[in-house]
């Protein structure tokens, strides 16, 4: 273990159970987790918390959806913050949409902790 400080991951999902699942899996992987309930809340939390190393966001959310959040984050100057999108769609079209919206990658729900870990490793600097 050569890490100095644990990496921080922000999760954005309107479903409390999904947030808890992510927290459980990410904590087990050794990450620090901060949470937000939707896009608007995520932007508020981003402004108020230490900078996360990775953002994981759901797409379908009230107030501001995942695409809206990504656009705001990118425009807000975080061009290189890795962002993974949580999606249940495995179709290429949907993934392409996430990419063109500015996401770095995606996690297909339901996720296995191993797959989650692998997806994070592929994008977390």
């Amino acid at each position: 273990m050569t890490d100095i400080a644990p990496k921080t991951i922000m999760t954005v999902d309107d479903s409390p159970s999904m947030r808890m699942l992510l927290r459980a899996a990410l904590t087990d992987l050794g990450y620090t987790v901060i949470e937000a309930e939707d896009g608007v809340h995520a932007l508020e939390t981003l402004a108020a918390s230490p900078e996360p190393d990775l953002l994981i966001t759901d797409i379908n959310m009230p107030r501001m959806d995942g695409f809206g959040l990504i656009a705001e984050v990118r425009e807000g100057g975080r061009r290189n913050l890795p962002i993974l999108v949580l999606t249940t769609e495995s179709s290429d079209e949907k993934k392409q949409r996430a990419r063109s919206a500015g996401a770095t990658g995606w996690i297909v729900k339901p996720f296995h902790p191993d797959k989650l870990a692998a997806a994070i490793r592929r994008v977390l600097h």
Binding site: M18, P82, P110, A118
Partner: protein, 707 residues
């Protein structure tokens, strides 16, 4: 938070989602096909599918997938939401509820083959998506826990430098030919925070080594754009690595950036002779992958088995408190209320009743009691949300069209009441659809809309909850009710009854029997059982009906079972509490209204109906009570077995009392429902009207049979 708790959260979300869908269908059925409404339905199913997968509810996940596929076609406009299609969608919703319940209770999964076929037929082949069943399988590749990777590029550097190549796990003598992978990141490969080096690190974990680095595209230093990728790599991977795993590394990468081929030259065991570095499985450095995630996997690995045997109860609160703790709190507050009123009484006796602290204490105590009760309160929604489905099933069974209108579903009432109101309410709903509403033809003939309306409402009304089930049907046919009551010996053929009294006959024991009720309303119980259930909850039921216009059943229930509205009466030296829910009226009889019956019995003439007088003192063994009805008070009560006039000395008060269980504190006593402690510290028994009036029953029966 353990997985079970998270799963419980998921089921709460399911309940909320299902309730939201129910509301959306009400809008859609009214013909308002708003895009956001349809989208909301889709989102609910979508979320349930996501959670079902996460918690390993495979059947639920498979079902939601098919359902979602159809909804998606409706959402994107490929399918027009016709009434017929809406019926299928709503039918599928009911089955979804069953699926969720089965997943929650670990009970038998509903047989969904027919519904799946309907969904697929409705989707009309428009869907080519196949169900992804089951949770994502464990990653085939054994990978290193991310936490040990972090920023550490040592392994990567080692690989780039061709020093100490990582071992290939599971190398076998007849391993397949190695892979040759050319990775040339596209110019935008660094966009959105992507980092190609991380992918090389992943490949290193699969046993890959960089055999060539292509620097031809690299411009001179001053021309380098740090946001552009210029390098390309050729990587050799052991043949034991699966193609799927290798390609998975590039999941987020443009497919054109990579080219993966089997190394044709390599036929020898891995490492292949063409590999620049000989990797010997025997003396290779242990790979960082020595500690596979699989062994350190979180309990999420098998959520289903973790959840097995522990059905998750539905709940709508955000804090879960052990019910025992809550009951203890309610109990303590009950004690406090009693102590407070005792204190008030003592102080009043000392002429200190007027001090302001006393009224402050009283206010505080009452507020505390109400707040405590509010903790146990749940919205009626829990019960009401099941009604649309009952109505839909009934529509099919009786062939009537019914529109449900619901009001006040957020009205809160004690958990116990919520739990026990479901059955009587279901019966009333069934009754309304089956007996209340006319057939479609009948409605058209009567000039009404062919669609019948059943209204369900709940509201707080002077410290009680009033639930109303009404219909716009034919109303009670009083001539028929009367004829049937005479036929069953409930009333005399020449009895003079008001309309209200006739209406109330349907609650008489023995009015409805198996021979006359359809299998819809029937289910083995009559309206007398409904009333009994309501009374057991300390409630009252009343009917309002107008022929041709409709009927309305009102249930008035206490907000909690821990307190009871009672009439405090004295018999001799003793004090008793009679539950207000059973009391019809109280009166001081005149000589003319009393008729002697048998040796020492008496009948009270209540406007033409004869009610047996029931001296409570005899049954409770009190010696010094008033025996002469004309000098005492008669309280007419309505119990399971009809009416009785209880003979008591005086009425002292009418108030709320805190119910104390006799069974828990002493033992069960026939004729006594419980006890309470009065302000003066004395214990007063609460009279059990049903058991007591049962004893007066023989008086009534011969009367009816004699007719």
């Amino acid at each position: 938070m353990d997985l079970n708790a998270i799963q419980q959260m998921f089921f709460q979300e399911c309940d909320e989602g299902l309730a939201g869908m129910e509301a959306a269908f009400a809008i859609l059925r009214d013909g308002d096909h708003d895009a956001e409404t349809i989208n909301g339905v889709f989102r609910c199913v979508h979320s349930i599918k996501g959670g079902a997968g996460a918690f390993g509810h495979e059947r639920l996940q498979a079902y939601t997938h098919h359902y979602e596929t159809l909804l998606d076609l409706i959402r994107n406009g490929s399918l027009d939401l016709t009434p017929a299609l809406l019926d299928i969608v709503i039918g599928a919703f009911d089955m979804l509820s069953d699926h969720v319940a089965a997943a929650r209770d670990n009970s038998a999964v509903p047989a969904d083959a027919a519904m799946l076929a309907r969904l697929e037929a409705a989707a009309g082949g428009g869907s080519t998506v196949t169900a992804r069943v089951g949770p994502a399988g464990p990653a085939a590749t054994v990978s290193e826990p991310a936490a040990t990777v972090g920023d550490d590029f040592d392994d990567l550097m080692a690989m780039l430098g061709d020093v100490s190549p990582p071992a290939v796990p599971g190398v076998e003598a007849d391993a397949p030919a190695g892979w040759k992978l050319v990775y040339r990141p596209t110019a935008n490969a660094l966009d959105h925070g992507a980092e190609p080096l991380l992918l090389l690190r992943e490949l290193a974990m699969l046993g890959g080594t960089v055999v060539d680095c292509d620097v031809t595209a690299l411009p001179s230093l001053d021309a380098i754009d740090p946001d552009c990728a210029y390098l390309g790599w050729t990587i050799a991977l052991p043949g034991t690595a699966s193609e799927e795993d290798i390609l998975a590394v590039f999941e987020f990468t443009d497919a054109c950036a990579i080219a993966l081929t089997r190394d044709a030259v390599a036929t020898a065991p891995v490492p292949t002779p063409t590999d620049p570095v000989q990797v010997d499985a025997a003396d290779a450095t242990p790979a960082p992958a020595a500690d596979p995630v699989a062994s350190a996997a979180p309990p999420i690995d098998d959520p289903k088995s973790a959840a097995k045997g522990a059905p998750v109860p539905p709940a709508a609160q955000t804090i879960r408190v052990d019910l025992d703790k809550l009951d203890r709190l309610v109990n303590l507050v009950g004690e406090l209320v009693i102590t407070q009123s005792m204190l008030a009484q003592r102080l009043t006796e000392c002429q200190m009743g007027g001090i302001s602290e006393l009224s402050d204490l009283e206010h505080l105590t009452r507020d505390l009691q109400e707040s405590t009760m509010a903790i146990r309160a749940q919205p009626m929604k829990t019960v009401f949300s099941r009604v649309p489905r009952i109505i839909r099933e009934l529509e099919g069974e009786v062939g009537k069209r019914v529109r449900l209108e619901v009001e006040g579903e957020m009205t809160e009432v004690d958990k116990t009441v919520v739990e026990r109101i479901g059955e009587p309410l279901t019966h009333l709903i069934r009754n309304a659809v089956d007996h209340g509403l006319e057939s479609t033809e009948g409605r058209i003939a009567a000039g009404k809309s062919p669609e019948g309306v059943v209204r369900l409402s709940a509201a707080h009304h002077s410290g009680r909850i009033v639930i109303t089930v009404s219909d716009d049907g034919q109303g009670i046919n009083r001539a028929r009710v009367r004829a049937k009551a005479i036929e069953r010996g409930i009333i005399l053929p020449d009895a003079i009854l008001t309309d209200e009294e006739i209406d109330n006959l349907i609650f008489a024991p023995g009015f409805s029997t198996a021979a006359t009720i359809s299998n819809v309303s029937g289910r083995g119980v009559g309206m007398d059982v409904v009333r009994k259930n309501i009374q057991a909850l300390g409630g009252r039921i009343s009917i309002q009906s107008r022929e041709g216009v409709g009927s309305s059943f009102s249930l008035s229930l206490p907000l909690t079972l821990a307190v009871l509205d009672g009439m405090i009466v004295t018999i001799g030296e003793q004090t008793f509490v009679i539950p207000l829910s059973h009391i019809v009226e109280s009166l001081r009889p005149t000589g003319e209204t009393l008729n002697r019956f048998g040796l020492d019995g008496a009948l009270l003439d209540v406007r033409g109906a004869y009610v047996p007088v029931f001296p409570l003192a005899d049954h409770l063994g009190i010696a010094d009570a008033e025996r002469d009805p004309t000098k005492a008070v008669l309280i007419v009560v309505e119990g399971d077995h009809g009416q009785a006039a209880l003979l008591v000395d005086t009425i002292r008060d009418q108030r709320q009392v805190v119910v104390k269980s006799l069974e828990a504190n002493y033992q069960e006593i026939d004729g006594v429902a419980g006890a309470t402690i009065l302000g003066d510290g004395r214990v007063a028994l609460i009279v059990d009207i049903d058991t007591l009036t049962a004893r007066s029953r023989p008086v009534r029966i011969p009367l009816a049979e004699a007719a």
